[in-house]
């Protein structure tokens, strides 16, 4: 198998309707100074409703806020 034949391990970001951004794969999560953010699992959910108490990660609070993404 040559490198071109291998399935690509491209990182992917899934925009979950009415929910977080799910980040899978080899992506650097860093603060504005480029310092790595603490990461506990391979796949992480990033808050996009703005209400999480554990930002940048999702804590499910979007469900209490009835956050919607309009299908995006």
């Amino acid at each position: 198998m040559t490198d071109e034949d291998r399935p690509a391990a491209t990182p992917a970001i899934v925009a979950c309707p009415d929910g977080p951004l799910l980040v899978r794969g080899d992506v650097d999560l860093v603060d504005p100074q480029g310092r790595p953010l603490e990461r506990h699992r391979r796949t992480v959910a990033l808050c996009r409703c703005g209400s999480s108490a554990i930002k940048p990660y999702c804590d499910g609070t979007h469900k209490l806020k009835h956050f919607t993404t309009g299908g995006a």
């Binding site: 899934v14 979950c16 309707p17 990660y57 499910g60 209490l64």
Partner: protein
């Protein structure tokens, strides 16, 4: 001569509420335990004893009938991944008002909070195991999703991060016995029924859709309650050695619920639309049975009693 099948048939037929029947649920729990980590005192060969399996199937048939009679079937969405995920999120949407997690957060006494941990220990010391049975029954997107969730449940390769091990740490920090089964005689039937149901869904390939739906509902009703429970233990003065399991689940299950709804349950229904009703039943059954167990605990506390059997257990 003692006839096991007859004895089981009598016990099952004579029960007017199988979900709350201590003997029947304990018997089923023990029969299932032979497939998990077993008993020191029981020969491992009993796992595949035809007599025990025949007895187990008598209990399971009645248990499944009782579940189907107790669980209102939700309206079925279109058999597409996005519609299934949306329906599951709607079914599991947080309800305002009282609940067991809120009670822990706001008013449970120290003794009640420890009692809650004892109740949860029956499942949580083997957290994730019942759904793992479903992995070889799935293919493609659903399988990858289940493995992704379970890998995280099992610590992503780090034994000390296995969620069941984190829960054992919580128990030890509270001075409770973290040996599996230490409190099996103290918990009521409905607590055993909750675990038995997920084991039945996991062990029967026929019910793989319900195993998937069950896990999705479980994950979707976890992160917000886990924060309340962690806050409850902080209110009672406990530190991170007690709360870490719950703190971890706030973040972990916010990830898992997305994977479980869209890729696991949705992916399964995309590939197998005929399993849609099983998926939704499994989700609804999780909510109903775990809701019954939680309500029983709160009712006991409101009456000033313990939710545990007999003379309640101290550490």
């Amino acid at each position: 001569m003692f006839d096991l099948q007859q004895a089981i048939a009598r016990a099952v037929a004579g029960s007017d509420d199988l979900l709350h029947d201590d003997d029947v649920q304990l018997a089923l729990d023990m029969l299932y335990e032979l497939h998990y980590t077993g008993f020191d005192e029981a020969d491992d060969g009993w796992e595949w004893s035809p007599a025990l399996l025949a007895g187990r199937s008598l209990i399971e048939a009645a248990f499944e009938r009782a579940l189907r009679a107790s669980v209102p079937m939700p309206e079925l969405p279109e058999p597409r991944a996005d519609a299934v995920a949306a329906a599951l999120f709607e079914l599991t949407a947080p309800t305002p008002g009282p609940g067991l997690a809120r009670t822990i957060e706001r008013e449970a006494t120290d003794e009640q909070a420890r009692e809650f941990i004892i109740q949860r220990s029956i499942y949580t010391l083997k957290e994730a195991d019942p759904h793992t049975w479903a992995i070889p029954r799935l293919r493609g997107r659903a399988k990858a999703a289940l493995v992704e969730i379970q890998s995280d449940e099992y610590g992503g390769g780090r034994a000390e991060r296995i969620h069941a091990a984190l829960f054992a740490g919580t128990m030890r920090a509270l001075g409770l016995d973290d040996t599996y089964g230490a409190y099996i005689d103290a918990v009521p039937a409905i607590t055993l029924a909750s675990l038995n149901m997920s084991t039945m869904f996991g062990l029967h390939r026929r019910l793989r859709g319900s195993a998937v739906g069950h896990l999705a509902a479980f994950e979707m009703t976890s992160s917000l309650p886990c924060r309340m429970i962690g806050d409850g233990f902080r209110r009672l003065g406990y530190g991170v050695d007690v709360t870490f399991y719950y703190d971890e689940h706030v973040e972990a299950d916010s990830v898992h619920e997305q994977i479980a709804g869209r890729d696991l349950a949705g992916g399964l229904v995309d590939a197998h639309p005929e399993l849609l009703a099983d998926v939704m039943f499994g989700a609804a059954a999780c909510l109903v049975v775990d809701g019954m167990a939680a309500d029983d605990v709160r009712s006991a506390w409101e009456a000033g009693e313990s939710s545990l059997l007999g003379s309640a257990v101290r550490s």
